[in-house]
């Protein structure tokens, strides 16, 4: 009997000890806690995005109420950088060196993330799921500690290119783009997507500066090229001008509008809802104003979450769906990390998601990553504006 007990004890120990030995921590992780750092523009010109940081904070409070992740509570430290890159550098250094977070998550803004890109990779601290659509975040060879999340601009443009090739192989395309990295990213994606045909299909390109008052003359110029497809790569103010001007001068091309400017309130309403009818764009998560999702269980769950944990937030703000969805993605990454909470393992797990999804993403959209693919969401669904609201159509399309 005694030997039997000893035997069982030894067996238990044999099972227990390797498990204990597998527990691995880097700064910011312990048996009870995981520290996550973030910067968000809670003040300044881009403070509308601050909602994202607040939603993520609320999500982690919910996770903690439910017992945390693998028994560890999440501590979310989020600082205001006012969308100013030098502040982001200071705050990122504070988070890494003083607060000793395990990693940074969802730092927001292309210039802000550019400012800390080198620092994070030099320090070997993950800069995970950054909140910007630039393509450069998917560069695991040169920047193995940085990863994006949302579909990047080039991927999105490639999807429009495919749709054009499929539906109108003889299209004559006119492009209007903002003359900066964002505009050029989209243009490159379109050309890559069209492949050999890019040269013959794109009949006109016009660009504008953010400081320009209008894009009216560009629209007239593009119309005169005789194009029957219009790819509109503009930020909200210019998108509204372009839609209205094209309609007013009687130009009726098939109109593709980038995802950046799909807001009904700030783009399509000023342009004129009737004038916007027929515009095609993309989406990858559920729009809280879309009546289609009124009884969707995932959106109901999101609403319940909002009411309980972020009651001062708005139930029609798409940024809160975005924040919820990206926080859920991190939740899964940390769950997969198990007891090995090293910075290296966080990156490894973030880079090994295979077809995972959360139901606030559109049906059919999944997150897949690998050691040489740091672009989690690569598929979107096309949608068309019917004069009242966006209507999804067709299948979910993947960029690569």
């Amino acid at each position: 009997m005694k030997t039997k007990l000893v035997c069982i004890g030894a067996m238990l120990a044999a099972f227990a000890f390797p498990a204990a030995a597998q527990k691995k921590y880097d700064p910011g992780a312990s048996d009870t806690e995981i520290k996550i750092g973030n910067t968000n523009p809670y003040s300044g010109p881009a403070s509308a995005y601050g909602t994202i940081g607040k939603t993520i904070d609320a999500y982690f409070r919910m996770v903690n109420d439910q017992g945390g992740i693998n028994g560890r509570k999440l501590t979310f430290i989020s600082y205001d950088d006012g969308y100013s890159p030098p502040r982001t550098v200071e705050m990122a250094r504070k988070l890494v060196e003083q607060d000793q977070v395990l990693f940074l998550f969802q730092t927001l803004g292309t210039p802000s993330n550019t400012a800390i890109h080198k620092y994070m990779n030099l320090r070997k601290v993950p800069q995970l799921h950054v909140a910007t659509g630039a393509t450069k975040w998917n560069d695991p060879k040169n920047f193995p500690w940085t990863m994006g999340w949302q579909p990047n601009y080039q991927t999105e443009a490639q999807i429009y290119a495919r749709h054009i090739l499929k539906t109108r192989p003889d299209a004559k395309i006119a492009v209007l783009y903002q003359n900066d990295d964002y505009g050029k990213d989209y243009l490159k994606g379109l050309k890559d997507g069209l492949g050999d045909k890019a040269r013959s299909m794109i009949v006109a390109e016009a660009s504008y500066e953010v400081s320009d008052p209008t894009v009216d003359s560009q629209i007239v110029q593009l119309q005169s090229s005789g194009a029957n497809v219009f790819f509109n790569i503009t930020t909200p103010k210019f998108a509204a001008q372009a839609i209205r001007k094209a309609y007013d001068i009687g130009w009726k091309p098939v109109h593709y509008l980038n995802n950046v400017s799909i807001s009904v309130g700030s783009v399509l309403t000023p342009a004129g809802l009737d004038k916007s009818a027929g515009v095609i764009s993309t989406a990858y998560y559920k729009d809280p104003t879309d009546a289609h999702w009124a009884n969707d269980p995932a959106m109901k769950q999101w609403q319940a979450f909002m009411k309980k944990y972020y009651p001062e937030g708005s139930l029609i703000n798409a940024f809160s769906v975005y924040g919820y969805t990206v926080a859920a993605t991190l939740h899964e990454v940390l769950r997969m990390c198990g007891d090995n909470l090293t910075r290296e393992n966080v990156m490894r797990q973030a880079a090994s998601m295979k077809g995972w999804r959360v139901d606030t993403l559109l049906p059919g959209i999944t997150i897949t990553t690998s050691q040489d693919d740091f672009a989690p969401i690569q598929s979107v669904q096309l949608q068309r504006f019917n004069g009242k609201q966006w209507e999804l159509f067709g299948e979910v399309i993947s960029g690569n």
Binding site: Y42, S43, P45, S84, P85, K94, V96, T114, Y182, E209
Partner: protein
């Protein structure tokens, strides 16, 4: 006088010892304090001593930062050489801007400089300059390493480099302001007509004050770029210019040491405010500002001076 020199000596020893007592993140923050102190000294020469209000000094700071970044990135210049170069460019730019600004007084000058501050971020995005400025994406530069194999971490090395430049700039400023030129600047501020009657070339002095002030701020901009390792148009919004003005008023107008107090204020108070309230950090910052101005109407430097005189009187 002897007490003062002793005090300065102690201050320098403390400044040299500090980086070894705190983390490299704190060292980085202290470097920024020194950088801001130089910029504030520059603005103080113009606004505090000469009475010309500038709401656009962020533009000269940006110019200095971009000069440094472009010289390092495109021309491969060594980091220590770009600091005087940035100062030189800003000296010329400031002097030239000072010429037309001569016709403007008080609030009108404030508006003209405000226009400069507002325009700067957009000028930096101008696409014909993109080849050099990198457009909205800005320029990333490498952090300078300690030379001659000195066993110092990059952050600490940069701190000492900045400290050396700060000392040089403060000695320069002190030399400039304690003598004839300083008295002339103050005379122009206090009595425009009388100073002219005394034989001071008002126009020349005012333009020179603009140039020298811009040079100080440009040097600070170049050091700031080295510390942050990144420049982008969004880094130099009009808010930066206003923060500088806040810094010199809180630190003490027309006071050299005031630049240091002001720098400490603009570096650390926003962080403290952010820790007190996430929802309204700038409201807290405002409370601090009002508190300081109310309790120390002549700035921190003025309050300290007052305290010392009272003690001496007793």
């Amino acid at each position: 006088m002897r007490g003062r020199i002793l005090f300065l000596g102690v201050l320098i020893v403390v400044a040299c010892a500090l980086p070894f007592l705190v983390s490299s993140y704190r060292t980085f923050q202290l470097t920024l304090v020194l950088v801001y102190a130089i910029a504030l000294l520059g603005l103080n020469i113009l606004t505090g001593y000469n009475g010309q209000i500038s709401l656009g000094h962020g533009a000269f700071y940006a110019l200095g930062a971009y000069c440094a970044a472009i010289l390092i990135d495109k021309a491969g210049a060594p980091y220590w050489a770009v600091v005087p170069a940035a100062g030189g460019v800003c000296l010329v730019a400031g002097f030239l801007f000072g010429l037309p600004a001569l016709r403007l007084e008080g609030l009108y000058l404030a508006l003209a400089t405000f226009a400069l501050g507002v325009a700067m971020p957009q000028l930096l995005k101008y696409h014909h300059l993109e080849k050099w400025t990198g457009g909205v994406q800005g320029i990333v530069i490498a952090k300078p390493e300690a030379p001659f194999g000195i066993p110092l971490e990059a952050d600490r090395w940069l701190y000492f480099f900045t400290l050396a430049v700060t000392l040089i700039m403060f000695v320069l400023g002190w030399n400039l302001l304690r003598g004839r030129i300083g008295r002339a600047l103050v005379a122009i501020r206090d009595q425009h007509t009388a100073s002219e009657a005394m034989g001071i070339h008002n126009a020349l002095y005012k333009s020179l004050a603009f140039g020298v002030s811009a040079m100080f701020t440009g040097v600070a901009g170049a050091l700031g770029a080295l510390a942050v390792q990144f420049v982008a148009p969004d880094s130099f919004g009009v808010f930066l210019s206003i923060v500088f003005l806040v810094g010199i008023v809180v630190g003490g107008l027309a006071s050299i040491s005031g630049a240091l107090y002001g720098a400490l204020f603009i570096q650390f108070i926003p962080n403290i405010a952010d820790e007190i309230s996430k929802a309204a950090p700038w409201a807290i910052f405002g409370v601090f500002m009002i508190g300081f101005v109310y309790l120390m109407p002549t700035g921190v430097a003025g309050a300290i001076r007052l305290l010392l005189t009272r003690r001496r009187a007793q």
